[in-house]
């Protein structure tokens, strides 16, 4: 037998002699590792799902909204002059490099009436580019064309939820409905799109030009038309950060902000949003993992307890080994390997259990879990580390035994 294999074989005999006890000892580790694996995989799954949601909206998307950003700091100067205008959008389209499509939008709440159905709804006026910017898919009918936009046609495209509410199973294409004081015609219904924020299912889109005829869009002191937000895409995703910076400095100039003033708008790229969110979820996942790791700690104390008992029981064996020439280091490694061996086995079983658990969670369809190699490697190495840490004291105890007294013990 190879020299380095001998301590392993000895450890195996030690573990295998007390099968039930060994199993109970590692149960704490098994449960801890399984909890870590399944919780982390659920967290990772949630993260992956949110990112894929954002990507379905278009990772090349940048949105500009009025007012300072509301996360990552204190929102400041609400209600002051924080206004985005259609001219801002035009300036961006003309002056910022790598900008592909730009769509100013204006939303307002309007009364909708179809037959007996009556609802108050948020209506958004957009240019036709908006469809491409937001990756909107039309389930049936069409989105409005440039021509309809140019002449301010009173046509609407409904989100799938809105269509369901207003028309039920009936075909809405070509149907008329009342919107505020105007009559509009439905020309298209959007495909349902699962998204966590700003799902288009609840939206009603109308050409911005038609919107401007129907409602009085506010203007700034300079006479520029106010918009609710500006959505745009970049031609090169790599340049998203550059574009965000350029837009910020352009808008600061246009809004005549001094160097000490806060931005009165916020520019958010989807990439940034994705990274902010995945960071937040990552923190949650880590927290869950840390709670699960406490049970690993408890398991480790169990291992230490059993190893102390095992050393006590095998005092005579230790004495024999010492009489045969075993040095302190030999005894010490033997027990340390045995402890690490136990927790490694616990770690591996825990990984398998955790994997099964996260598979079961996945199969409910609520969330897709992702078991990544780094979690597995982390869990297994942590459990071996626990074995080494909590095995250290018992092993050290064993190695310090006096051989004569050890031989005399029963």
């Amino acid at each position: 037998m190879k020299r380095w294999l001998e301590p392993l074989a000895t450890a195996w005999v030690g573990v295998a002699t007390h099968k039930l006890r060994s199993f109970l000892t590692i149960l704490g580790i098994v449960i801890g590792v399984a909890a870590v694996i399944s919780l982390m995989s659920i967290g990772r799954g949630a993260e992956a799902r949110i990112i894929s949601n954002i990507e379905s909206m278009g990772s090349d998307l940048i949105t500009i909204s009025p007012g300072a950003r509301t996360w990552g700091g204190v929102r400041s100067a609400t209600g002051s002059v924080q206004i985005l205008t259609q001219q801002d959008a035009e300036a961006i389209a003309e002056q910022v490099a790598y900008v592909d499509l730009v769509a100013p939008t204006y939303s307002t709440s309007l009364q909708l009436v179809v037959g007996g159905e009556n609802m108050n709804s948020q209506v958004t006026g957009v240019p036709p580019e908006y469809q491409e910017i937001q990756n909107l898919e039309v389930a049936y009918g069409t989105f409005f064309s440039d021509y309809e936009y140019q002449r301010g046609a009173k046509v609407v495209v409904l989100g799938s939820e809105v269509k369901e509410t207003l028309f039920g199973d009936a075909d809405p294409i070509g149907q008329q409905m009342r919107m505020g004081t105007n009559i509009v015609r439905v020309i298209g219904v959007l495909a349902s799109k699962e998204a966590m924020f700003g799902s288009p299912d609840d939206a009603i889109f109308i050409p911005l030009t038609a919107m401007q005829q129907m409602v009085a869009q506010p203007r700034t002191a300079q006479g520029e038309r106010v918009v609710s937000s500006i959505a745009l895409t970049v031609s090169d995703e790599e340049q998203a950060d550059y574009v965000v910076e350029e837009i910020t400095s352009l808008l600061r100039t246009r809004h005549q902000l001094g160097p000490l003033d806060d931005d009165d708008f916020s520019v958010m790229s989807m990439e940034e949003l994705a990274s902010t969110l995945s960071e937040a979820i990552g923190t949650m996942t880590l927290l869950l993992g840390a709670i699960a790791a406490i049970s690993l700690l408890v398991g480790g104390i169990g291992v230490m307890n059993i190893m102390l008992v095992s050393v006590l029981e095998r005092t005579r064996e230790i004495g024999i080994r010492k009489a045969l020439g075993a040095r302190e280091r030999d005894i010490w490694t033997q027990f340390l390997i045995e402890a690490a061996f136990l927790t490694l086995a616990g770690g591996i079983i825990g990984v398998i259990l955790g994997w099964v658990a996260s598979y079961l969670v996945s199969s409910t369809g609520l969330i897709t879990t992702v078991v990544t190699t780094d979690i597995v490697i982390l869990a297994v190495s942590v459990s071996v580390g626990i074995g080494l840490f909590f095995g250290f004291y018992p092993a050290w105890n064993a190695s310090r035994l006096n051989p004569i007294e050890a031989l005399r013990s029963e």
């Binding site: 037998m1 001998e6 010492k322 009489a323 045969l324 075993a326 004569i404």
Partner: protein
């Protein structure tokens, strides 16, 4: 081979001290077969433990193969035990979970490495080659002690120490063990030190040392 100079051993017993050995001086030549006799509490086992490097003397010197070993660290002593000394105990001290062969191999493990062929040869030399895969619980007392002898000799140490090797055996098995030990001594020239109560067994040896109250009372040549 062995030279003890005025060796004493004192155990602290709470506030008092228990003096077990009161100045032992002794020379044992290479290849000798020596019996140590004496009543209980005379210090036989303590002396054997000191000679076996399982313990350190309180004072005095101990030269093993001309090397002063009484002040070495516990790891250095362990190394000497592994390489120079084979132990045979009254209670056999085999590991119950291991087969006879594995027990013999264990004796070589801390002495430079396991050699299965030599372990088998050792078992054969005590007449147990057909029991190599039996566990100690499946063997008789005499057979267990033969395994222990095989374990002691497998690493070919220059010195073998036996602490009442026949104390737990019936007289027939005991005689078998003694004849194995004496023939090992005769054939391989091993230095053998044996503690015994049994005067008949002691008379198989070349020299008998009588201990009394931690001192050498008398010596006789057989």
């Amino acid at each position: 081979m062995i030279k003890l100079q005025d060796m004493t051993k004192v155990y602290p017993m709470g506030k008092r001290e228990l003096t077990v050995l009161r100045g032992i001086s002794l020379v044992i030549e290479k290849g000798e077969l020596v019996a140590i006799m004496g009543p209980s509490g005379s210090g036989k086992s303590t002396m054997l433990n000191l000679i076996g490097c399982l313990d350190k003397p309180t004072s005095g010197n101990y030269y093993l193969e001309d090397r002063e070993v009484s002040r070495l660290s516990s790891d250095e002593l362990a190394q000497i035990r592994g390489q120079k000394i084979g132990f045979i105990f009254q209670t056999f001290n085999l590991l119950p979970r291991l087969s006879a062969l594995a027990n013999v191999e264990l004796g070589m493990r801390y002495a430079g490495g396991v050699d299965r062929q030599r372990a088998m040869e050792a078992l054969t030399s005590v007449g147990l080659s057909d029991r190599a895969n039996h566990r100690p619980t499946e063997l008789s007392g005499g057979e267990q002690q033969r395994v222990a002898i095989a374990r002691a000799i497998a690493k070919k140490p220059p010195l073998i120490l036996a602490d009442e090797p026949t104390g737990n055996l019936d007289s027939r098995s005991g005689e078998e063990i003694i004849s194995i030990l004496t023939s090992l001594h005769a054939e391989q020239g091993i230095t053998l030190l044996m503690v015994t109560h049994n005067a008949n067994i002691a008379h198989h040896c070349q020299r008998i040392i009588h201990l009394m109250d931690g001192q050498i009372e008398s010596e006789e040549k057989v």
